[in-house]
């Protein structure tokens, strides 16, 4: 349990910020945070260090929990960037296309390009 508490203390602030950004409501963000850590505790043996970092694994669980809550009780988003709309609001390329009045293909191309930029940034950070 001590290791779990350390894990919570190390990542809870970052995950809470992410959940607040996604669901927009503190109470809902706290509940999602609790669900996230419970899931982490239940599925710790599924974490594979070869496939990615501990932080990325926790973030992916928290994001999924947040998006599930957001879909149950949507909160209007003011984002105008396809990447933000996909990652924080869980919108599909066609929904983003409608929202931004852009062709779907252009939205997808833009997202793929931005993801490659993020990957380059990650590689630079690793070096």
């Amino acid at each position: 349990m001590a290791a779990f508490e350390q894990l919570y203390d190390r990542y809870s602030a970052a995950l809470y910020a992410l959940l607040l950004r996604i669901v927009g409501i503190p109470q809902s963000a706290q509940e999602a945070l609790e669900e996230t850590f419970v899931e982490v505790r239940q599925n710790a043996d599924r974490f594979d260090p070869l496939r990615g970092s501990e932080a990325a694994w926790l973030i992916s669980i928290a994001r999924r929990r947040g998006i599930e809550r957001l879909r149950a009780r949507p909160v209007p988003s003011r984002a105008a960037d396809p990447m933000q709309l996909a990652y924080f609001d869980g919108l599909s390329p066609s929904e983003i296309s409608e929202r931004l009045s852009e062709p779907v293909d252009r939205v997808r191309d833009s997202m793929q390009l931005e993801m490659r930029k993020l990957r380059d940034r990650l590689r630079a950070l690793r070096q």
Binding site: Y8, R21, Q30, R41, D48, S60, M83, F88, M115, R119
Partner: protein
């Protein structure tokens, strides 16, 4: 679908923006394609940078309290994250694979070394055999040479012939001017005997002949210049 196309889908999938069909095709492909699976994992890691860019917000203390209480009551996975790290390092299959690989490489190396040693030993034995044979032939040549000298009539002039390595040759000329060439240890080949005269710079070919597998030959020489003009003999192989 090409790997590049799967990589583009992996970029969208990391954002949760791939279609259900694309996601399914990618999952299926990743089961057999390590490079695309690694590309997808890297995109997931890259996407997490968007979350990490947010300013941290401390969660309320009661959230921590509730999380710990809930965590106490849940059925815990086999291990904690830290243990997952450790378990990975000591996974039995991982160790077994590494051990098997090590044994295979070690065995392969040992077999290679053993074969090389046997080859060297075989060559050493061959060299020893040839050295003994060479010494025996050398003794035989010396003995034959002595016998020829003893049998030759008084006044016979004998020339050691300059010859290729391992070939021993001698020209004997008796007082009547009869000449005899004896050769031993010559590999099978066609040879030429040349005479070098005192005042004749150009060597003169006086005999051309074959030597068979025996390596020995004795031939009379007919066309020699006068004995007093002979400086030396030389034997060449074709």
């Amino acid at each position: 679908m090409t790997h590049d196309e799967f990589e583009s889908i992996a970029a969208l999938d990391a954002l949760g923006a791939a279609s259900a069909e694309e996601e399914s095709a990618l999952r299926q492909h990743m089961e057999t394609c390590d490079s695309c699976r690694r590309a997808r994992d890297e995109f997931v890691e890259a996407a997490s940078l968007m979350a990490r860019d947010l300013d941290s917000v401390a969660a309320p203390a009661e959230a921590r309290q509730r999380t710990m209480e809930n965590a106490e009551n849940v059925e815990v996975g086999e291990t904690t994250l830290a243990e997952a790290h450790r378990r990975f390092a000591f996974r039995p299959w991982w160790l077994a694979t590494a051990a098997l690989l090590f044994l295979f490489l070690w065995g392969w190396r040992e077999l290679g070394i053993r074969a090389a040693r046997e080859k060297i030993a075989s060559r050493d034995a061959e060299i020893n055999q040839l050295t003994i044979e060479n010494a025996r032939l050398g003794e035989q040549v010396a003995r034959l040479s002595r016998e020829a000298s003893e049998l030759a009539p008084p006044g016979t002039k004998s020339f050691a012939v300059s010859a290729p390595p391992v070939v021993s040759a001698r020209v004997s000329i008796n007082p009547q001017g009869q000449a005899l060439l004896t050769i031993t240890g010559a590999p099978p080949n066609t040879y030429k005997l040349w005479v070098i005269q005192l005042e004749q710079p150009k060597p003169q070919n006086v005999a051309t002949f074959e030597v068979g597998r025996s390596g020995q030959k004795t031939i009379p020489l007919q066309r020699l210049p006068p004995l007093k003009s002979i400086k030396a003999f030389s034997l060449t192989a074709r």
